[in-house]
């Protein structure tokens, strides 16, 4: 299955990646090769097979009591922020 440039652009948009035209072309060919390869999965009969979502049985991972534990201070949490305002992360304009 070959992917078109439009499909690659659509996926890049969903993944929040801005790509140049050259990149789109390169990815189109590489992704087509990979998608072709993983197409192998279509040749198996999987009717009646349950999906494996996790390697371990989720039952064996009990939930903890819902109590507040130790956490980062606002200062620690913001230490790597590219921009901040007081105890908040600052982001560019959201409403276009």
């Amino acid at each position: 299955m070959a992917l078109t440039s439009e499909q690659v652009e659509r996926v890049a948009k969903l993944a929040r990646l801005s790509l140049s035209n050259d990149e789109i072309e390169g990815f189109r060919d590489q992704l087509s090769t990979i998608v072709d390869y993983i197409g192998k999965l279509q040749s198996l009969d999987v009717s009646g097979v349950e999906p494996t979502v996790h390697a371990v049985d989720v039952e064996s991972t009990p939930l903890r009591e819902d109590v507040v534990g130790e956490s980062l201070t606002p200062g620690e949490a913001l230490a790597n922020a590219p921009a901040k305002a007081g105890t908040l992360f600052l982001v560019p304009r959201i409403i276009e």
Binding site: A12, L19, L44
Partner: protein, 489 residues
């Protein structure tokens, strides 16, 4: 004999007998790194000052008779995927350049509690996506046995540092073979434990249902000493299993494989496996037979679907995990013009390398409407079939023996422009992650060109003990693991 020639267990004994101090061992490591790393590129960050301070503290504890155990004073290093409080953590990516974590991963905390000396952070494929360490944004790491070749990936630095005797042990992560494949390429021992054996807290996530932390060492015993220090339930990771951690290391010196049944899957001895690799692994199996193990043919019929399954499941999970790199809270943030949306698009385009973008896109595509059922859901069902293959095989055998990789280390650049060829390097390692099993790679020979060859042992869930036993018994009668690369002698 230089201090750095000792194994981890050897150093622990030497420290215990006070023949060496931790300070001497740590200084020896720092000197060795300085002498060899310009050629190898295993380290992204060396914390000499911190390491020397930890070494002095360890020596003081020992002098007072308050040693913390076998790892106390032992210099180790970590793949740069582990968050280290106050020490830069890049995950091999430009998007995390300058990131200094405000907290330690559970493994960093547990190693510190055991007294280990943390020397630095190791090179890796960007976000652990790669099989050669070439996708690192900070330059490749080279194989100490042949500087023109890859040490393997994604934990390339973790394997190369042990091979080059720069530190006594390292930690890596393994999502589809990222511990075992570099261990094989670099001629060291490495184990990926059962999924859930170790916490994933503080480990930058790639594919959450597959990621697992594990150690590298020169021997199975060294790996056991490291793994038992970091394994066990962690309240910070609900997928870490609440099961006791055995003392794997004790008794290994008298480990025996007598009466053990070792499975040989025909699907792992097929065309495409380098004849020298196959010959070395077959000779190792014969050796195990001479030691009293029984070789039993087993079948893993869905092996050929492993790569396709993995390259749907892992990218799907990565596309979701890597959504957090958006320029808001840490790392690169491109916000010169435009609004929030432009910041997302530009930050991710500028911060991620091509392989990471490729995987995010494959995953996004496999999860997108119209393809989800045909690819993602189907891959999860095939994952069940792969798991069942192993359950069936383990009814008959105690462990399974295979080559770790189809070939020895390839040349840097050889597969860099051919993603699919690169993916095929993981053909024998990724089923183990899909099934959640423990897997170990240990040195079992060399090619005629002098490159290490690795043998893989796969075990039943939570049965790391058998892998350590087989590894220790094999290493007691062979010396592959004792050889040192001459390129960086």
């Amino acid at each position: 004999m230089k201090p750095t020639d000792l194994t981890l267990a050897g150093l622990a004994a030497s420290l215990g007998r006070k023949e060496l101090s931790s300070l001497e061992a740590t200084q020896a490591c720092l000197e060795r790194i300085e002498a060899t790393d310009p050629k190898i590129g295993a380290f992204l960050h060396v914390d000499a000052e911190g390491a020397l301070a930890q070494a002095r503290a360890s020596d003081e504890r020992r002098a007072m008779g308050a040693s913390l155990g076998p790892l106390d004073g032992v210099p180790v290093a970590l793949k740069d995927i582990f968050c280290t409080k106050g020490i830069p953590t890049t995950c091999g990516s430009k998007i995390l350049e300058g990131f200094v974590p405000p907290f330690d991963s559970s493994h960093v905390i547990r190693l510190a509690q055991a007294g280990a000396v943390m020397v630095g952070k190791l090179n890796m494929d960007e976000f652990a996506m790669g099989s050669s360490n070439e996708t690192s944004a900070y330059g490749p790491c080279r194989n100490p046995w042949d500087l023109e070749r890859t040490p393997g990936g994604s934990s390339g630095g973790s394997a190369a540092a042990v091979a080059a005797r720069q530190v006594f042990g390292t930690l890596g992560t393994d999502t589809g073979g990222s511990i075992r494949q570099p261990a094989a390429f670099s001629g060291v021992t490495g184990i990926k434990p059962t999924y859930g054996r170790c916490s994933r807290y503080g480990v930058i996530a790639f594919a959450s249902s597959l990621d697992q932390v594990g150690p590298f060492g020169r021997t199975a015993e060294d790996c056991a000493l490291l793994l038992q220090a970091i394994a066990g339930r962690d309240p910070m990771d609900s997928t870490s299993l609440d099961v006791p951690v055995p003392d794997w290391a004790s008794g290994l010196s008298s480990a025996s494989v007598k009466g053990m049944r070792l499975g040989v899957p025909k699907e792992y001895f097929v065309e495409g496996v380098d004849p020298e690799v196959e010959a070395a692994v077959r000779a190792a199996m014969k050796r195990l037979e001479e030691l009293g193990a029984e070789l039993v043919p087993v079948e893993l019929p869905h092996t050929e679907y492993g790569i396709s399954t993995y390259y749907v499941v892992a990218p799907a999970e990565c596309s979701s995990n890597l959504a957090r790199f958006d320029g808001v809270r840490y790392g690169l943030s491109e916000r010169q013009e435009g609004g929030l949306r432009e910041m997302y698009f530009r930050t991710r385009a500028g911060g991620f390398g091509p392989e990471v973008k490729r995987r995010i896109m494959i995953g996004t595509w496999a999860l997108s409407s119209g393809y989800y059922d045909a690819y993602y859901l189907r891959a999860q069902k095939v994952r069940t079939l792969i798991k069942r293959d192993f359950e069936e095989a383990f009814r008959k055998v105690d462990a399974i023996v295979t080559p770790t990789t189809p070939t020895a280390a390839f040349r840097l650049g050889e597969r860099a422009d051919d993603p699919l060829q690169m993916y095929l390097a993981d053909v024998f390692t990724l089923a183990c992650n899909l099934a959640g099993l423990p897997g170990m790679s240990l040195p079992c020979g060399f090619t005629s060109g002098g490159l290490p060859i690795g043998m893989q042992l796969l075990g039943k869930p939570l049965d790391e003990a058998t892998l350590f036993r087989v590894g220790a018994a094999y290493q007691a009668v062979t010396d592959w693991h004792e050889r040192a690369p001459q390129e960086v002698a």
